[in-house]
Each structure stands twice: as structure tokens, then as C-alpha cells.
């Protein structure tokens, strides 16, 4: 069976869409556990975006924080401006 160019494109797009949908919803094998497996936790093994924030040393002064922006042109998200 030979396919012309249009049919190849349609088949490729259809396959791509199918793979996207398939990949986005995955059924998980149900693995029951009987006792929580909480081990000695080391948060240094967390990915960078989930690692704890820096803790100030006792006695270290608290940094001067960000200031409120009074500009009416500020584009901060607001519940009544989106």
C-alpha cells in the first residue's frame, strides 16, 4: 500500500496527537503498602526548586525587605484586573 504525501502528513499528525493524549494520562499500578515507609529524611536530596529556603543564623539581622509599589501602572495580578 502506498501513501501519498497528504496521507503521510495526516497519519503523522494523528499519531502525534494520540501519543500526546496517551502520555498525558497514565494509569498507575496499584502497589499497596502496609506501613508508611517514612525513612530518615534528607532534604538536600530535593530538587533545587523544592529545597528549604536559607535560614538566618541566630542573631543575624533580618534583611530590609521589598517595598510596596505604589505605582498605579503596576501590572501586579489583582482579582479585579484580569
Amino acid at each position: 500500500m502506498t501513501l501519498n504525501k497528504k496521507e503521510i502528513i495526516y497519519a503523522s499528525v494523528g499519531l502525534f496527537v494520540f501519543l500526546v493524549i496517551y502520555a498525558s494520562t497514565r494509569k498507575i499500578d496499584l502497589v499497596e503498602v502496609y506501613e508508611p515507609q517514612q525513612k530518615n529524611f534528607d532534604n538536600s536530596k530535593l530538587p533545587k526548586e523544592l529545597q528549604p529556603p536559607q535560614k538566618l543564623v541566630d542573631g543575624e539581622p533580618i534583611p530590609e525587605g521589598a517595598k510596596r509599589n505604589f505605582s498605579k501602572y503596576s501590572n501586579l495580578p489583582r482579582f479585579d484586573k484580569w
Binding site: 502497589v31 499497596e32 503498602v33 515507609q37 529556603p53 536559607q54 501586579l76
Partner: protein, 259 residues
């Protein structure tokens, strides 16, 4: 029943399909398998037949433990409770509305990053002062919040002059991660988003806008505000809760207008 689910720190929605033989109050909890006091949801629903719990997780652990049980009978292993069964657990994409969350704004981006990392780890952090990477925000993690020696019922508060956020460890240990995020985004909003710094409703809604836009679960937002207001059941808090319910219900439809 407890199931181990490899969530791999990916953002996702867990679809937990549960079946009951008659109307039953079913409890669902999703917790970190390794880090203590780190919970992603703790909710219940009365189910008669089949139902799906949608657990939105903008952040997730490497491995999660999913608890599913009938509240009446307690947590029993598979096969020991005929009143409830788990049909499937499926991972799906997380829906977010990032067009309403201006992460291009450096203050919002910085605070969301800081709050996420603090909330994720609050179950195992010791009391003390924590700062964001750019040192623009500081959280003072206290055993409890006190005013002149008297313990306060609020889980968090912000100093309007310095921007310093005080957080009660006693409250945060019992909260889920989404609960914690909703509280911190409320405090952030007072100073950095509100027109009126003192307006609690404005802070509720501005904070919720970011919270919901990031994909955090609605039920946890309802829950944390209900938990906070129930210990202070004033008319103002009742009005706040009604506005929050209205806002969350309409968020999906972009129909939000608060007068």
C-alpha cells in the same frame, strides 16, 4: 488502604477512582512517603457508587502515599473493608491558568518561589528566620504567634512596615502544603497587591488568584479559610468566607467580579 505512587516531583493531577456499595464517607490523604508532616491533600466526600477524587499537585514528592478509607471503619488493608474499593489511580496533566499569575513580575516570582519552598518543608523545619534567595522576603517561623504574651489564633500575619511575615509552626504542622500556600499568599497580598493594606477580603481574593492560577486545589483553599474562621466566627469572617466561595466557584468561568 495505603498505596505507593511514584510522583517523581512532577506537577500533575492524581485521579483516584473509588467505588462504594452504599453511601459512605470516604477519606483521601496524599502525603510524602519520606518527609514527615508533608501532606498534599486531606479531604473526604460522601460517595454512593463510583466517584473520582481529583488531587491537583503543582508540587509533588518523589513518592507519595495515597490513603483511601471509610471514615466509619478506619484505615484497613485491601480486602478487609467491603464498603470501599479503589478502582484505579491515574496521573493526568495539571491545569493551570498562568495568564492570571504575572510571574514576569520579579516580586511575585520571588515570593512564589520562596513560599513554595517554605511550605513544602514546613513540616520538618525548625523555628527561626528564613529568607528568600534575593533576601526580599523573610518568614519568622515561630512556635506560636503571641501578642503581649497571649497566644493568637491566627496562623500567620505580616508587619505592614517591614513586610516580615510571622508564621505559627503549631498551625502549619497540621496544614497541607496547599493550605500553607493559601495563607502565605494572603499575607503577601496585603502589602504587595492590595490597594488597601488593611482590607482582608481584598487580600483573600488577591492571594487566591495566584493560588488558583498556579493550579492548587480549590478544596484546600476552602478548608484553610474555614479552619481559620471557625475559631473566630465573626460577621466579618462569615462575609469573607461567602466572598471566597463565590470567587472560587467563578474562577473557572472567568466570571469573577467582586463589588
Amino acid at each position: 488502604m495505603i498505596f505507593n505512587v511514584p510522583t517523581r516531583h512532577e506537577e500533575q493531577t492524581l485521579l483516584i477512582k473509588v467505588k462504594t456499595t452504599s453511601p459512605q464517607k470516604i477519606r483521601i490523604k496524599v502525603v510524602d512517603a519520606e518527609q514527615p508532616n508533608t501532606s498534599f491533600t486531606d479531604r473526604y466526600k460522601t460517595i454512593d457508587g463510583e466517584s473520582i477524587f481529583f488531587v491537583r499537585m503543582p508540587v509533588s514528592p518523589k513518592e507519595a502515599l495515597v490513603y483511601v478509607y471509610n471514615e466509619k471503619n478506619g484505615n484497613l488493608p485491601v480486602g478487609q473493608d467491603d464498603s470501599v474499593s479503589v478502582e484505579s489511580i491515574t496521573k493526568a496533566q495539571l491545569e493551570k491558568k498562568l495568564d492570571v499569575v504575572d510571574l514576569g513580575n520579579p516580586l511575585v516570582r520571588s515570593f512564589v518561589n520562596f513560599a513554595t519552598r517554605f511550605c513544602y518543608n514546613a513540616g520538618s523545619l525548625s523555628s527561626g528566620n528564613y529568607v528568600s534567595d534575593d533576601r526580599k522576603f523573610t518568614i519568622q517561623y515561630l512556635p506560636v504567634i503571641k501578642d503581649m504574651g497571649s497566644e493568637q489564633t491566627t496562623p500567620a500575619r505580616i508587619d505592614v512596615d517591614s513586610g516580615l511575615i510571622e508564621v505559627s509552626k503549631k498551625h502549619f504542622m497540621d496544614y497541607t502544603i496547599p493550605n500553607r500556600m493559601a495563607i502565605l499568599l494572603h499575607e503577601f497580598s496585603h502589602i504587595f497587591l492590595n490597594d488597601n493594606i488593611d482590607d482582608e477580603v481584598e487580600a483573600d481574593l488577591n492571594g487566591l488568584l495566584i493560588y488558583l492560577g498556579l493550579g492548587y486545589p480549590r478544596i484546600e483553599a476552602f478548608e484553610v479559610f474555614a479552619k481559620t474562621f471557625i475559631v473566630a466566627p465573626t460577621e466579618q469572617n462569615k462575609m469573607r468566607y461567602d466572598k471566597i466561595v463565590n470567587f472560587i466557584d467563578n474562577f473557572e468561568n472567568y466570571n469573577t467580579f467582586i463589588s
